[in-house]
Amino acid sequence: MTWETVIGLEIHAQLATRSKIFSASSTAFGAEPNTQASAVDLGLPGVLPVVNRDVVRMAVRFALATDASITRRSVFARKNYFYPDLPKGYQISQMAFPIVGPGRISLTLPDGEEKIIGLTRAHLEEDAGKSVHDLFDGYTGIDLNRAGTPLLEIVSEPDMRSAAEAVAYARYMHSLVRYIDICDGNMQEGSFRCDANVSIRQSGSNTLGTRTEIKNLNSFRFLERAIEFEIERQIDIVESGATVVQETRLYDADRDETRSMRSKEEANDYRYFPDPDLPPLVIDDDFIDAVRSTMPELPAARRARFVEQLALPPADAQALCADRQTADYFEAVFENHSFAPRLAANWVLGELFARMNKENIPLAASPVSSAQLGRLIERVDDGTLSGKLGKQVFDALWSGEQDVDAIIDSRGLKQISDTGAIDTMIDAVMADNPTQVAEYRAGKEKLLSFFVGAVMKASRGKANPAQLNQLLRERLKG
């Protein structure tokens, strides 16, 4: 019997605001416990929530980026349950009328195939606080700094069929939310967390099997491992004649397995109802238009433009559009120059990426600015520098020197394209190597590279290689 896996993901993306969703406290990470928890965040008697406008803007950005419908009248609802890091005894979320309705994205799978993944919805909600279990003997400590941090919960349709597809989808979302500036994507700090709903069914079947939900997967690797483990586990259960229990499970990275979260096992009855402290959130055309006018070009459109208008190979376009900073940097490199964008792509994906990888630094920390790289490529393109000397200039820039032309001047790197000067050097080399000249003229044409090397050495690498080749051939003919 063959089994088909059905996976849907719920992603909690922390929205990149300065203040919280319902209060004016900071969302900065890492503060001392409870120093960023205001009266509102603590749920003190009498406090009330007031919505952060930027949170709404960001949700609308997401909708615009995923071809999703925007709910013109969405409703905040209370999800009621007791937990010590949930200060009010309810989480303000959205249930019946989420701000973002159905949407879809097009995913490029590892084999190059395009697959449409449906988005069920995305809704706004507040994060809970943090429970600390290992600091106090017999007690749990509660830090509510995180309480009220804005989240966008992005719920996919159960459209993924393998752990690899789920990871590709999660990576796509991770890239997208950063691309449209709504989430910093920092997974270690919990800014981007995945829950996976996993079930199996007989291949060809249309009904869904019983699903389990694996909570809080905070790396792509864990997401993949957890789903793979869970698929195996479910197949084992079903093939042994038992049935899968619908439950919430936790992935234990140390043991590489999922296990049941017994403490949350008890059937929860969240008693959702519209939050009476918050009237319906009405979004009009003006609001949406204002957000639309600030939208960046989305990765897919940008990739297509790079291929069609800039004549980049699709793979290069894909690599450059992986994140917005890279694509922006790339476009800035050729912005004020006449050389082919393709050269800029070669340098960015070649020299620049190699150095960044080698020294493990992000683009934002690159010592070579897009303007500097642009000037450097221009100097190669106009013949001032050979490609090889260009790399020397790049090294100088990388180690902190600023001005491309000053680097060329001070080190005398300017390429020698003066025929007279090259001729003089050829004369000297031919005079020093009469035997090789004779051999060449006797038909051993392989020796050309010997002469090129010798003259290049004499020019200390500055001779224009194309010119040198041409001149040498003529002179050696005799």
């Binding site: 009498g46 009330l48 007031v50 010590p84 200060p87 109802f273 009476p276």
Partner: protein, 484 residues
């Protein structure tokens, strides 16, 4: 001094014939003399009041005073204050001192009002008799074996017994108007959103609204002026400009269309109460108003809808009282569930528990549509009734309560009988409308209240009608003998 209205006191303060210090000492002495019997105050801050009075007197001398500067008031103990505990009449908050003050408290303080203390109330504002206070029942100053009404019973008793010039209250289903009626004073529930709810401990968020209790409509107008206005901390507070409530008080009533709903004079109305209200209506008619019979066909559904919606919201609002960050915590909790269950079990009184339970039930899986959603739909029908009615009339009049104040203990064993006190008042909360109660006579020595409601944002009209009425009658000038 205490036989004067707030407006009269304000005039003397302004002219320098009276000082705030004098007023405060006078009321402190009266509290000392009468409150042991009434139990209307939960806390009195004599020192704080004296300091504030001295400050107010300086402002008055410098000519920087507003119309309320130096006037002593009491706050219902549901408004958060930083210098006195805010208990909400509950063991849960027995020693709770709020780290911040309610917007209403800040606003009245900024207006120069002097806080004498905090007024007793039904626990978490749930009740119509003030018998649900953890800190003991409040006596009605007119007959001390009777209830003052609730939940702002302490506030109403304080004003009726002249133990402050006025008081703040809150009204979720009638909690300003019903005690005002039982105690023979004037109280207005403003339009939902007119007064900020920030710092007012929530009972049922979509129904709660703060307002003043005072002797007269004129006094209510002065105080509401200072309480009202948009608050950036309350998303439901109205952004509309607050009109000058005092300016329109004297407008003529000629041609005013008063709607008299048949339904208000049918179900369970005490005939003596009905007589007083009818008498008041003829006074208004003689002043030029036109009386018109109208119908509010869904009136009988108000109580059932209210007793779903209010407890449902309350069950959620009261979840924050979990013994973790503030409030009562049980001894030696075994685990987290034990901490929650015992802290809440010990901290909340029986009526609060009943409402939390019924509310949680109405919202729970499988019952939401039958109860909560249904109640919300009925709420819409009730609201639509008013929309239709106000196309024909300017205000709607009737009794505030079906009966006068009942004896303490008479209804405490029958929650549903108690709920029927709110028969005529809850519709204004469900619809968000302003409504006022003013004294309109006595039945067996107990005050009777006349209720007027209007369409949204028409508080000025209600205050105007009652002010003119109070110019023609003197029910609002009567004072209980025991505290004269």
């Amino acid at each position: 001094m205490h036989d004067m209205t707030m407006a009269q006191q304000a005039a003397l303060l302004a002219s320098g014939e009276l000082t705030s210090a004098d007023l405060v000492e006078h009321y402190l002495a009266r509290i000392e003399q009468h409150d042991a019997r009434l139990n209307a105050y939960l806390a009195v801050d004599a020192e704080g009041a004296r300091l504030a009075a001295a400050e107010a007197d300086k402002r008055l001398q410098r000519g920087e005073a507003g119309p309320l500067t130096g006037i002593p008031i009491a706050h219902k103990d549901i408004f958060c204050t930083t210098d006195m505990a805010t208990t909400c009449g509950s063991r849960m908050l027995e020693n709770y001192v709020s780290p911040y003050a309610a917007t209403v408290v800040d606003k009245l303080q900024a207006a120069g009002m002097v806080t004498l203390g905090k007024a007793n109330m039904d626990e978490f504002a749930m009740g119509s008799s003030n018998e649900n206070s953890y800190f003991g029942a409040v006596a009605n100053p007119w007959q001390e074996n009777r209830v003052p009404g609730g939940s702002s019973g302490g506030s109403a008793a304080i004003v009726a017994a002249r133990l402050a010039s006025a008081a703040t209250g809150t009204d979720t289903g009638g909690s300003i108007r019903q005690p005002a009626a039982f105690c023979g004073i004037t109280g207005i529930k403003p339009t939902y959103g007119r007064v900020s709810r920030y710092g007012m401990v929530a009972f049922a968020s979509s129904l709660d609204q703060g307002g003043p209790l005072a002797q007269t409509a004129e006094d209510c107008a002065l105080m509401l002026q200072a309480m009202a206005g948009h608050d950036v901390r309350d998303s439901t507070s109205s952004v509309l400009k607050v009109p000058d409530f005092s300016e329109s008080l004297n407008e003529n009533l000629a041609g005013l269309r008063i709607g008299i709903p048949d339904e208000y004079f049918a179900q369970g109305l005490d005939s003596d109460v009905g007589d007083c209200v009818n008498e008041a209506l003829s006074v208004l008619e003689s002043a030029g108003a036109i009386l018109k019979r109208i119908s509010l066909p869904n009136q009988n559904l108000c109580i059932p809808a209210y007793y779903i919606i209010a407890p449902a919201e309350a069950s959620s609002n009261l979840s924050r009282f979990d013994g973790v960050r503030f409030g009562h915590r049980c001894e030696n909790p075994q685990d987290i569930d034990d901490l929650y269950t015992r802290s809440r079990g010990e901290g909340f009184g029986p009526e609060v528990k009943r409402r939390i339970l019924i509310g949680a039930y109405a919202l729970s899986a499988g019952y939401y549509d039958a109860y909560y959603k249904k109640a919300q739909q009925v709420r819409q029908l009730v609201s639509d009734d008013f929309t239709s009615a106000f196309a024909e009339v300017d205000v709607i009049a009737g009794p505030t309560t079906p009966t006068t104040a009942f004896e303490r203990g008479a209804k405490s064993d029958d929650p549903v009988a108690m709920y029927l006190n709110d028969l005529f008042t809850v519709s204004a909360n469900l619809s968000g409308l302003p409504a006022i109660s003013a004294p309109c006579g006595f039945a067996d020595g107990l005050p009777v209240g006349l209720q007027l409601s209007a369409s949204v944002n028409q508080e000025a009209r209600l205050l105007n009608v009652v002010h003119r009425y109070q110019g023609l009658t003197d029910w609002h000038r009567r004072m209980p003998d025991a505290v004269a």
